[in-house]
């Protein structure tokens, strides 16, 4: 069993250690952010941010900048656009989100096309969209861990007002909470979360880590602190196991073409969600 799970060289491999560390940090941040994303029903906005982050990543690859910079700048720009276009009515908000997402995707198309025609880097689309966690350098990992911890602390510090604003905006406003400011702040945190996890799972699949563990946790417990902790654990499990399996997958077939990390992470997250749903239903019927 141990031999099956840990292929030779896994423990000694520094890219794997990097990936696991970065994955853990991102899983923690995604758990905290994800909890509020579900509360505020902003899964679509979160997903749109991943698409805008993709645009940033594609632009970074076109101008040979580090992908993280591209992801962050892209996501933050997207967050501002979404905040400005924000509408009280969900349907109108979704349409505006969709249009912004369309502009971003169109621009990604252009950047990726220009990159693939102007350089020899043909795998760039795949790298930006689906991640390349084994290429992450030590300094980037340190940066990812630092930013994640800072954002987790910051978000937990405003957890209470943020929760009230998310659940009953009118009451929060009456109590003097600055709903708009909080909304804008949260949009930025969401952008940062998406940008960081884009490094691990690729931009398109950040949504999985953002929404999946939080949704599973929500099915298992109703208490906010527990739900956040549980989501963090589930996310941590998914990223770690995903990284290990992806590393192992290079040895599964003699051709040496492994499967991407993001694939494993998403499959694990979806499986967790299914199991959580089962447990939820069993408990309810008892």
């Amino acid at each position: 069993m141990m031999k099956w799970l840990f292929e030779p060289g896994l423990v000694a491999s520094s890219p794997v250690a990097h990936a696991i560390f970065a994955g853990a940090a991102v899983a923690l941040l995604s758990a905290v952010t994800g909890f509020f994303v579900l509360l505020r029903r902003q899964a679509f906005a979160g997903h749109a941010l991943t698409d805008v982050a993709t645009t940033g990543g594609a632009a970074a690859s076109l101008w040979s900048l580090t992908p993280l910079l591209g992801f962050v700048v892209g996501a933050v720009t997207g967050a501002s656009a979404l905040s400005v276009a924000g509408d009280e009515r969900v349907r109108e908000r979704d349409v505006a989100t969709g249009v912004i997402l369309g502009i971003a995707t169109g621009c990604s198309a252009l950047f990726l096309y220009l990159t693939s025609t102007s350089t020899a880097n043909t795998g760039v689309a795949q790298q930006v969209l689906f991640g390349s966690v084994f290429d992450v350098s030590t300094s980037t990992v340190a940066l990812v861990v630092l930013i994640s911890l800072a954002l987790v602390t910051l978000t937990l510090a405003v957890a209470r007002p943020l929760m009230v604003t998310s659940l009953v905006p009118a009451i929060a406003a009456a109590r003097g909470e600055r709903t708009r400011l909080l909304g804008w702040f949260f949009m930025l945190v969401m952008a940062a979360t998406v940008a960081l996890s884009a490094l691990i799972t690729g931009a398109v699949l950040s949504t999985a880590l953002l929404v999946g563990p939080a949704a599973s946790a929500q099915r298992l417990t109703a208490r906010p602190p527990r739900a956040i902790a549980l989501a963090a654990l589930l996310g941590l499990f998914a990223t770690t196991l995903g990284v290990i399996l992806a590393y192992d997958s290079f040895y599964w077939r003699s051709s040496g073409t492994g499967l991407p990390v993001s694939f494993f992470i998403v499959i694990i997250i979806v499986a967790q969600y299914a199991v959580a749903g089962r447990m939820h239903r069993i408990r309810r019927s008892n």
Partner: protein, 255 residues
């Protein structure tokens, strides 16, 4: 080139008709998820050496079915998001196993002016016809169940069934449009014109007609621009739709 233009015209008409209801019924996120999920099907079909159109059709149906089933149990946006990432993850696995030229994948994602054969065109025409007939014959029930589900139920309409049918229609419309505009931007062609039309016209029938006209204009100018610059069609569809929407919004607000 003529075939591409005909295919784009079909895609635009259907996108205008279906997109109107996507916007009215608030199905923006599911429409996006179905389109993105379809990409996985195309890469899977390429991997197995099958016709990409088959992969597109089966995976967009799978996405529609997944959203319809999961939505009954979970918060709608979460259900949609999870279906979306599952299909995309499969797509990423398929891509990693495919050794063919990356350009083909990018073409599927963002659209390209690659040739559409006569045979394909006939198939696309048939899908377009089915989509339009379904939506137009269910015009009133679809509208009523979107605007007030309770009244619709009171009148004996099966709202759950209508929702499911409409998701399948989105899947069909998606399959149809992907060969030209690409998976990631089918959605722009559906949402952009419909959203603009709804801002400008109140009467549903007129708004739908305007949405079709705008979608046609959008598709044609995008193809012409792509032809002139050799850039991906998707870029022009996405940005033109965005600019159109923003300008209309700003104009409506300033009046």
């Amino acid at each position: 080139m003529l075939n591409t233009w005909l295919a784009a015209t079909l895609a635009a008409v259907v996108a205008g008709v279906v997109g109107f209801f996507v916007v009215v019924r608030g199905e923006t996120f599911p429409a996006h998820a179905i389109a993105n999920g379809a990409f996985a099907g195309a890469t899977g079909a390429t991997l197995l050496g099958l016709n990409p159109l088959l992969g597109l059709a089966s995976f967009s149906l799978l996405g529609a079915g997944g959203v319809a089933v999961l939505r009954r149990r979970a918060q709608s946006d979460v259900a949609t998001g999870l279906v979306l990432v599952t299909l995309l993850a499969l797509g990423s696995a398929f891509v990693s196993q495919t050794t063919t030229y990356q350009g083909q994948v990018v073409g599927l994602l963002f659209g390209s002016l690659f040739g559409v054969s006569h045979q394909q065109l006939l198939l696309l025409g048939a899908i377009a016809l089915v989509c339009c007939v379904t939506v137009l014959s269910l015009f009133r029930p679809l509208l009523l169940s979107a605007l007030s589900p309770d009244v619709a139920r009171g009148r004996g309409l099966n709202v759950g069934l209508l929702n499911a049918i409409f998701l399948v229609v989105i899947a069909a419309a998606t399959t149809l449009s992907i060969p030209v505009v690409g998976t990631f931007l089918v959605f722009s062609l559906m949402i952009g014109p419909a959203a603009v039309a709804r801002r400008l016209v109140i009467s549903p029938a007129r708004a739908m007609a305007l949405s079709v006209a705008l979608a046609l204009g959008l598709a044609w100018t995008a193809i012409a621009s792509a032809y002139a610059t050799n850039w991906p069609v998707g870029f022009f569809v996405g940005t033109y739709a965005g600019v159109l929407y923003l300008v209309t919004n700003w104009w409506r607000r300033s009046r």
